[in-house]
């Protein structure tokens, strides 16, 4: 069995983001890059499937510039077997659909039995790529999975997807695309042995032309990137608790009209 895991490299959650001079991109100086946290759940789940079943190859795939090698390397250090890096300046301004086409093309070449990825990358926060990859491949898809169990025959996977008010349990025919929600598992940290071993594992570079991708422009170009408008200054309500609580309720009612 082969499992593909789609990962994206994103700025660390504690990063203060700034807009670059072009007003269309972020200022990348000083950013610490990480594997998007939801994608780590996907990597972890793939590794657990391998540990449970044996005879499973875990291939991580990512799209982006040279720095993305670091993210792939940390997935390999967690235990993934090898990686494919779609590294092509032609895809530098890829929107979700272009990214999905590129990743779907890699998946077609690799022909895995299952694709796992995070529910969204925490940079664009679009969460569109898993469904779009599935649509391009013509595969079923399930979003925000909280649990997963592949049937013994390897033909279907039973998943629980999170919806408003509950969990829907489905049997999904494979191959399929699953997007991971927090709670699916607790990702492991790479061991020293894992980190050393990752240096010898293969990261294959591919270009758009290797994937037979036609040049295209984004369907959803970013026109401008802006900082959030600052919030008006607030106030600390003074006095003892009883006084402060009364004043807070009065303010919420009369000034803010929030209740």
């Amino acid at each position: 069995m082969k499992i593909a895991v789609l990962v994206k490299q994103v700025p660390d959650t504690a990063t203060q983001m700034k807009v670059a001079g072009t007003a269309k991109a972020i200022e990348t100086a000083g950013i610490t890059w990480i594997v998007s946290p939801y994608d780590e759940y996907a990597v972890e789940e793939a590794l657990r499937i391998r540990e449970k079943r044996g005879q499973v190859e875990v291939v991580v795939m990512s799209l982006g510039p040279d720095r993305v090698k670091e993210a792939l390397r940390s997935c390999l250090a967690m235990g993934a077997d090898r990686a494919v890096h779609v590294n092509d300046p032609a895809l530098a301004e890829a929107d979700t659909l272009m990214a999905a086409r590129a990743l779907a093309a890699v998946i077609k070449q690799e022909a895995p039995d299952l694709v796992l990825t995070g529910r969204q990358a925490i940079d664009d926060d679009m969460g569109a790529v898993p469904a779009q990859v599935a649509e391009i491949l013509g595969w079923p898809c399930a979003y925000w999975i909280m649990e997963e169990a592949i049937a013994d025959d390897g033909k279907t996977v039973r998943i629980g997807r999170q919806v408003e008010g509950g969990l829907e349990i489905f049997d999904v025919p494979m191959p399929a695309v699953l997007s991971a929600q927090k709670g699916l598992n607790e990702p492991r940290y790479p061991t020293l042995k894992g980190i050393m071993g990752a240096k010898k594992k293969e990261i294959k570079d591919v270009k758009a032309s290797d994937l037979g991708l036609a040049a295209e422009a984004p369907q959803l170009p970013v026109v401008a990137l802006e900082a959030l408008p600052p919030r008006p200054p607030g106030r600390i309500i003074p006095g003892d608790v009883a006084t402060a609580v009364k004043e807070l309720v009065r303010s919420l009612r009369e000034e803010a009209k929030a209740i």
């Binding site: 979700t96 489905f170 990137l225």
Partner: protein, 326 residues
């Protein structure tokens, strides 16, 4: 009609559109100047539900009803709507941000080969083009996006757009197109309901209460739930509280949890780590209660009280009770 703005109906699974549809239809009406149609895929639509869509401003309801349409499955819904799009050429398709619209709209966009702007907080016409404003990096920045071609697909964040006022007596024409309903690939095994807190859903709630590390333990959330019951608020938690195992992660607010924009946010014992602020900083009014006057959350709070939350919460509950009983 080729200029129509379509609104994908999100319902309560019992035949009634969710209240958030008033926001979607209201925004579509503002952008389209009236040419607004609802598209409703469901296993059951009630007359009251259809009337509601008309009163909010839908001129027409495209109703596709069938047992196979529930529970929602992308491989069933997407080909149906894509076929309808090919026949009707709408200008835009809007939906609320919900678990199924998130997946459905993305997959539909791929099938149609068009752009999708997810989780929009603003939409505006620039001449004859639509421009969407959406938070990125969990709301640390805003991106303005445009579409290369129609239909323009977008999902709208709840509680941000002005809801349409219902106009009693205004009705929508109902059209039931004959469509092929594809076979489902996902087979439902069961649906596990969450134990209901009786409080609103986090992302849809107009008021959200959040408890952080200062709550000291899972047993103390009951005081927030009591307060929530009085003011009709959802109760969420910070990552610190979720990671400590005090609350299930579905209650987590922040960059790796739910992103919320309620009318009122009340944070108790929440310090205000960047990743938490990212998930709630677009709330309209922010209240923070924390013992530590240096807690970063006070920098973005409209109202702050520096005190022990265990003293503040019971008194606040009593005070709101008095106010709301009047």
């Amino acid at each position: 009609m080729a200029n129509a703005f379509w609104c994908m109906v999100e319902d309560d699974r019992k035949g009634t559109p969710k209240k958030v549809m008033a926001e979607v239809i209201g925004e579509a009406t503002r952008l389209a100047g009236g040419d607004v149609e609802a598209v409703w895929l469901t296993d059951t639509a009630t007359d009251d539900g259809i009337r509601q869509l008309g009163e909010w401003g839908a001129k027409k309801v495209w109703l596709i009803e069938g047992a196979e349409l529930a529970p929602y499955r992308a491989e069933v819904w997407v080909p149906i709507v894509a076929e309808l799009v090919a026949a009707q050429s709408p200008k835009a398709i809007l939906g609320p941000v919900t678990s199924r619209q998130r997946e459905f709209m993305a997959r539909l966009a791929a099938r149609l080969g068009v752009g999708l702007a997810g989780d929009c907080m603003g939409l505006a016409m620039d001449g004859d083009k639509l421009v969407g404003t959406r938070p990125v990096y969990a709301g640390k920045l805003l991106a303005k996006v445009a579409w290369a071609k129609t239909p323009w697909l977008a999902t709208l964040r709840p509680n941000v757009f002005k809801p349409a006022d219902a106009q009693p007596g205004q009705t929508a024409a109902v059209e039931r197109p004959s469509v092929q309903i594809p076979a489902a690939q996902l087979k439902l095994v069961e649906r596990r309901e969450e134990a209901s807190t009786g409080l609103p859903e986090l992302t849809e709630a107009e008021i959200v209460i959040s408890g952080g590390r200062g709550m000291k333990g899972p047993e103390n959330y009951v005081i927030l739930e009591e307060l929530g019951g009085i003011i009709g608020a959802a109760v969420g938690a910070s990552r610190a509280a979720v990671d400590a195992g005090w609350r299930p992660h579905r209650f987590q607010i922040g960059q790796t949890g739910r992103t919320i924009s309620p009318k009122l946010y009340l944070g108790f014992g929440v310090s205000g780590a960047i990743q938490h602020l990212a998930g709630m900083r677009t709330s309209k009014v922010i209240v923070a209660v924390n013992k530590d006057p240096e807690a970063p959350i006070f920098k973005i709070a409209d109202y702050g009280i520096v005190a022990d939350l265990f003293e503040v919460v019971p008194q606040l509950t009593q005070e709101f009770k008095r106010l709301l009983e009047k």
